[in-house]
């Protein structure tokens, strides 16, 4: 009787591992989907947060794009 129980236990363990693998596979897909949805709108009113580091070379690189953005959307900016 003991071997039968052992087999069943092992089979359960395998199923558990497969479930875990499936879950790990699903995570990047979910992240990808979340990334796609994010573009639409912010979730909350935005509070001031400038604790992040603004790199000056990036600011310089973006400047012309930003000027165009402001010019083309007078109601928003």
């Amino acid at each position: 009787m003991t071997p039968a129980i052992l087999t069943r236990l092992r089979r359960d363990a395998t199923r558990g591992a497969m479930g875990l693998a499936r879950c790990l596979l699903a995570a990047p897909v979910a992240a990808l989907l979340a990334g796609c949805v994010q573009v639409s709108a912010p979730e909350k009113p935005i509070e001031i947060n400038l604790n992040i580091n603004i790199r000056q070379e990036v600011v310089v690189r973006l400047q012309q794009d930003v000027k165009n953005l402001i010019e083309n959307n007078p109601g928003v900016f």
């Binding site: 400038l50 603004i54 973006l62 400047q63 109601g75 928003v76």
Partner: protein
């Protein structure tokens, strides 16, 4: 009511509709400019409009509506240029501080304090603005 009176009435209604429509279109077109001019909202260093005093529900809704659109534009441009959304937003704030905050209007720098722009002096810019 004779025919002439009816005609005049129709004309008056027509003109009112056109003027009213234009007014609404104008308000929609320059929502952010009007909010800044009202003194109830100002530009923040994070690239979004903020409320200066205590917000009414209506004001909050107007500011949110503008910021949601801004956020969408920032997200779009950030993806196109391989930059962070915050970087695009901060760069925009530099430009808005430079060109859109008029004398007497409000801005909120990186220290988080609301200040009123002096007449005749530009808004002081954060150090990373080019």
């Amino acid at each position: 009511m004779n025919r002439r009176t009816k005609l005049i009435l129709a004309a008056v209604i027509g003109v009112a509709a056109v003027v009213g429509g234009a007014g609404v279109a104008y308000a929609m077109q320059d929502a952010s400019g009007q909010l800044r001019a009202s003194g109830q909202a100002g530009e923040q260093a994070d690239g979004y409009l903020g409320i200066v005093g205590s917000p009414s529900a209506d004001l909050r809704a107007q500011v949110d509506a503008v910021n949601i659109k801004r956020r969408a534009y920032y997200t779009d441009l950030a993806a196109k240029r391989g930059a962070k959304i915050e970087e695009v937003a901060a760069t925009t704030a530099c430009e808005l501080f430079r060109t859109k905050v008029g004398p007497g209007q409000y801005y909120r720098g990186t220290d988080g304090t609301w200040r009123q722009r002096d007449a005749g002096a530009p808004v002081p810019l954060p150090g990373y603005c080019g």
